[in-house]
Symmetry: D2
Subunit: 429 residues, 4 copies
Amino acid sequence: MSASLNKNSQASDPPSQSLTERFREVRQLSLSICDPLQIEDYSVQTMPDVSPPKWHLAHSTWFFETFLLKPYLENYQEFHQKYNFLFNSYYKGIGSHYPRAKRGLLSRPSKSDIINYREHVDERMFELLQTSIAEEAGERVHLGIHHEQQHQELLLTDIKHILCTNPLHPVYRKKIGGTPQAISPLEYLSFPEGFSTLGFNGSGFSFDNEHPHHRLWLNKFQLCHRLITNGEYLDFINDGAYQNPLLWLSDGWDWIQNHQAKSPLYWENNDGNWYEISLSGKNPLELNLPVMHLNYYEAEAYARWSGARLPTEAEWERAAMDLPVKGNFYHPDLLHPQPAVTSSKTALNQMFGDLWEWTASPYTPYPGFKPAAGAVGEYNGKFMVNQVVLRGGSCFTPDRHIRKTYRNFFPPGAQWQATGLRLAKDGRP
Amino acid sequence: MSASLNKNSQASDPPSQSLTERFREVRQLSLSICDPLQIEDYSVQTMPDVSPPKWHLAHSTWFFETFLLKPYLENYQEFHQKYNFLFNSYYKGIGSHYPRAKRGLLSRPSKSDIINYREHVDERMFELLQTSIAEEAGERVHLGIHHEQQHQELLLTDIKHILCTNPLHPVYRKKIGGTPQAISPLEYLSFPEGFSTLGFNGSGFSFDNEHPHHRLWLNKFQLCHRLITNGEYLDFINDGAYQNPLLWLSDGWDWIQNHQAKSPLYWENNDGNWYEISLSGKNPLELNLPVMHLNYYEAEAYARWSGARLPTEAEWERAAMDLPVKGNFYHPDLLHPQPAVTSSKTALNQMFGDLWEWTASPYTPYPGFKPAAGAVGEYNGKFMVNQVVLRGGSCFTPDRHIRKTYRNFFPPGAQWQATGLRLAKDGRP
Amino acid sequence: MSASLNKNSQASDPPSQSLTERFREVRQLSLSICDPLQIEDYSVQTMPDVSPPKWHLAHSTWFFETFLLKPYLENYQEFHQKYNFLFNSYYKGIGSHYPRAKRGLLSRPSKSDIINYREHVDERMFELLQTSIAEEAGERVHLGIHHEQQHQELLLTDIKHILCTNPLHPVYRKKIGGTPQAISPLEYLSFPEGFSTLGFNGSGFSFDNEHPHHRLWLNKFQLCHRLITNGEYLDFINDGAYQNPLLWLSDGWDWIQNHQAKSPLYWENNDGNWYEISLSGKNPLELNLPVMHLNYYEAEAYARWSGARLPTEAEWERAAMDLPVKGNFYHPDLLHPQPAVTSSKTALNQMFGDLWEWTASPYTPYPGFKPAAGAVGEYNGKFMVNQVVLRGGSCFTPDRHIRKTYRNFFPPGAQWQATGLRLAKDGRP
Amino acid sequence: MSASLNKNSQASDPPSQSLTERFREVRQLSLSICDPLQIEDYSVQTMPDVSPPKWHLAHSTWFFETFLLKPYLENYQEFHQKYNFLFNSYYKGIGSHYPRAKRGLLSRPSKSDIINYREHVDERMFELLQTSIAEEAGERVHLGIHHEQQHQELLLTDIKHILCTNPLHPVYRKKIGGTPQAISPLEYLSFPEGFSTLGFNGSGFSFDNEHPHHRLWLNKFQLCHRLITNGEYLDFINDGAYQNPLLWLSDGWDWIQNHQAKSPLYWENNDGNWYEISLSGKNPLELNLPVMHLNYYEAEAYARWSGARLPTEAEWERAAMDLPVKGNFYHPDLLHPQPAVTSSKTALNQMFGDLWEWTASPYTPYPGFKPAAGAVGEYNGKFMVNQVVLRGGSCFTPDRHIRKTYRNFFPPGAQWQATGLRLAKDGRP
């Protein structure tokens, strides 16, 4: 990807925080996220999409080593000659790499080897940050920080998969918070037709795929004031949705058949009672919490069944335009979506944080999109096919990582991310 | 799909032609297309995407039997009780169906059984057409006719795959026409920014996915005056494109690895010389003819390599707006793209016919799209994910089947359709 | 394989029949077997193990062209330069060959092309047979005849698979013969311990895998006087055998899981009633006929369940030693196993013909086995792993093809051959 | 399996060693084998055949819990209610079990959980062993001990696969011993024809598959005095063996194609030089050491290429009959085959220890074989198809685990066991 960073520091950063402090803080968080793990948890790969936690810790370190230390720190000695092969994810411009689906076959390097790797790279990075670095290098530090934050979210979703697919249902952190007793009925907020914009136009960091900022025409539309809940989704299940091909996209129905899907990921039905397995183990399904771990097929089918549709990313960005970027982002004691609190027709709930919201928009380049030159140009652009845009961040997203214009993307069959569903409708004439 | 048909007859129809004559003519053409085949050719399925020719002949017949004769013709007796199971393609609302990938395992019903089936259904259809049929039924006849025309194109692409992947290189029809000696250099035509429209707004038949007609904003853009040729594509190959991951979308590079792809489909390199296997057998590659049988990955990568991009479907439709729907459509003696003839900056070549043109647009519903009620609602809408829009028709498309607003769609990896590539660029400021 | 042929003519041949007449007769039978087929039936391959009938017709012709005409007939011109590639089955010494699993993708050469190929080769073979051919060539003619006879049985089993897996249940020949009303109870015949022999030691043709003739020690054993029937096998099914892993070899249980097997091949249960699909279409299961289309796992599990075991091939050959080679072999009007007729303790029924009998013996070389030099050495020897020996021939085996020492072999999971089951036990002390 | 244990203690046991001491010693060795591992090594599964080391530690414990403590120790409380599901390998009689191929997806229970499990079960076992246990229970303790010893060998082969397929080539133990400078030329020892025996007939422990002891007739044969070396196998490779289908069984050639095999497992060719990756990391190939990690296809093909064959298990057992059970068995400092030392025509080298020797014998039941009643009957008998017998033990086999009549068995494609190759020939007339 190409980072676009204005010279003034990012608006949301505390003005007093230096880049070095920011770097230190973000690097530390990756380790904190892993604190509740046992050593064995660092190495497993429970499906090809999941990476072992120690791989995330090493790959985000490799990113700094490869794109900062090697080109910008004089006399830098790489930590280990085979780590470039092992921890390059998909940057073909950097050379060949170990196959993704086999990351779980590597017991070595061990977790402690990788902690050493992190320390080695961090020390050299501190050296580099004390010098007067070039503007391009500074932009890459920001890019590396945001890259690590993306992997923090992936760390959490992958840890969740590792623990929640284990028959022993291990607990990552104890359940916190009571059960919401009620939830407001669905309401739709209306937006008028007119020109709107898509893309980043501010100061601070952004990814290349948020550019160029451009205008486009929007028809009238309505957007639901909150996310769909477990209870509402259960109505869909109980209506026979997973047995009725007419509710699904053709590829979605094939996905159901191939996976024998009967519910969202991590739901389990024992003798007629539904349970949800989460980072706090296996617990009865809470009907008033937002439904989580849907893939695009499920979100789209639910919308069709309910007589609504998913919002486009332009509609979502239009609606988010005047809201503060606040919400239930990563917090070590929560890590689960929270119930909607407001029921007024004038306020949108849960737009930021809680759950990534599937949009109706395939992930495509904005008009005039240009990926960066060099290997970092492989960051975002080469995935612009067969994927769908998600917006708004989740309870696994570090709070200073996200923006209103942030475009997340996953293939339509992916369930293991922290995904949810907000409905939209065409505007009333 | 839902057919939208205005009461006045379609503009492009000869005014004197009755619906009955039109039906007879289209039904006859499906058989004519199969005339050069040997009986064995009717039954094979050379890959899961391909259907045996006899299956196409039966399925298009089943369509009339299911959607016209059963609901509208009194006392209709179905031809065979198992044909609904065997020849339903994907209409889950109609019941279960034989698995697509196994169509080539069925030697029975034989070709002659299916000819009998066609005759049985045609006779009853003539009965029905002589009655005063309801408007809905009339629309369905048009739908059935266009459905059969779509299968005529698929018949040709599937016959081509059946013959061209056979080591004996059988000939479907002799090569006609000389070799073009020269081709005009690439030129771009410019289009200004402004509101444009997408979708069908006229009289006559259209598919549901062309609706609703709506306006949208277009930036300035440029569109190339002709298709890319074999010779131009060969430069891309000779530049090492199939060995260079940096030119490809990530999924495209995976496609290359999985298929060991080195060229478009049906190209063969013997001792350094390129050949193209076509409906006229194996012949030396003609450099000045349009390059054919690219998938989206190849078209997109070529565009990137050449410093251009693919047009969006809105750009393509804008450019096509003022052109007549004329071109190298299905003609039994041609069946191959022809060279571009015009080099003027003021004229677009090959927009209709010759080859379907990959656009940059994922296949998604137009704002406010509604599929038809009932089983025909499965025609188009349920495929609106993981596919890409193609425009303009090809040398395999029956000429009265196509419109300016016609949206074809295939998955990005599909090579076996009659696909080609036209470049676009952003407008100059 | 290497054919071992003594100079005196084969005992079972009519003394007056010349090699030329024998050749003509066998070649003709392959065509007769195909007479009831429609042209489409000649080309399909319903699973990788099955070959299209036209492939069998071509391959057995290729065998004569390759191993007789090319080396022995002066100035022989091959019929088509690509047929060696297309119709070589697995003789790596002859060159590369078309992949087995894709034989059903070839609509060309057509059936009539292959009839022409047969006629071309037959004419040249008659030329060759009129000359005074070398002894080695004479042996190869016999080998080619027996090779063609093997493919006659495969033709029938493959035709059966093509027709019986078709949802229309086409009929190859009408059902003949009444339903047997009763069957004699199982009896065991006892054989004493002592030296016995394995392998061919006579005059006439034999395959290399029947050599060398050698002695071996046999313990006392008992052999059942007839084949197991459908009714007896049904008891096994009704006892829950296909749901009970403890009755099966571990690989057999995996086979059940992977294929969701619930019965022998071609059995179908509709509303609690069992039917058998055969060359005469779908008919109620006849309880007193021998059970057919078991694989080794099923035969072995039935034996365990019943407290018996399968015979070794040495035991089978010992028991067959004094019997005439007579039985229900290929006859165009039968083509199905017939009921056992004798119930005496002193006579074995159904040892020859009816069904190939699974033995307990893996297919291994006899001590001192040597495959022939040259490409025909690939005939038998290279398959001596992961296969099990079957004995006795079937209702699909041409009668002059079989011997007491004949070793058929298939992988333990194969169901589509004409296989059945005879029980054995250790001898009583 | 059914253990057959005579009442007198096993001949090879120190007479003074009690069953309790034996149990303690064997249980301790499993942990010692894992001493050089890092915690991450305990959890990975590098291919479906490999089990994670912690799984072996748990499964061998489960065996004692299931077959001793639950039936024989009053008031025994199982350690964890889900461990029966997780650590049952394939005993269907005991209930359902976790799928084998997914053992590497389980980070929990952790290594330390499993150490606790072992301690819990060991303490209860000591309780049980202090009581006056029934004879059947005593036999099962011996069975459990031998079961654990089998898993000690598997632990070593699986650890080797985990480390040797890792691109970092981690070292398990430093290389010990010099490089042998010379090796004696191949010699064959002759054995006369006559009756011989197969199977166990002594006192002490044996597995059910070694029974019943029985006689059989053997022809004259010759057996090579030592194992084939790396250098000799390299001649085979350098002769183009892996490119020549005529040297291989048909299934073996398919194995080569599917795995792109070019050498035994763990060999690597860098710039024309051969290396072997072993428990002491990556080192130059030592030509005079026995070739290791061949599968049956490779062993059989080498034998054919060299004009010899593999011995049958009866021949091997005949030759071993008069030898002491001594050799290079498990020793923590060796763990690699050692060079042959004797070149005399009168002595066989390396018959016990060093490497398991592929025989020509498929793994089948001895005449009259009966598996034990109950779930332990699943130990051996249900694998008697599609596998080949190996004899003699290896440098990974605990020395008091093996017997002359011991039958090991693996599928013909398995390379990761400590397997090697000894040649045989028919006897000279």
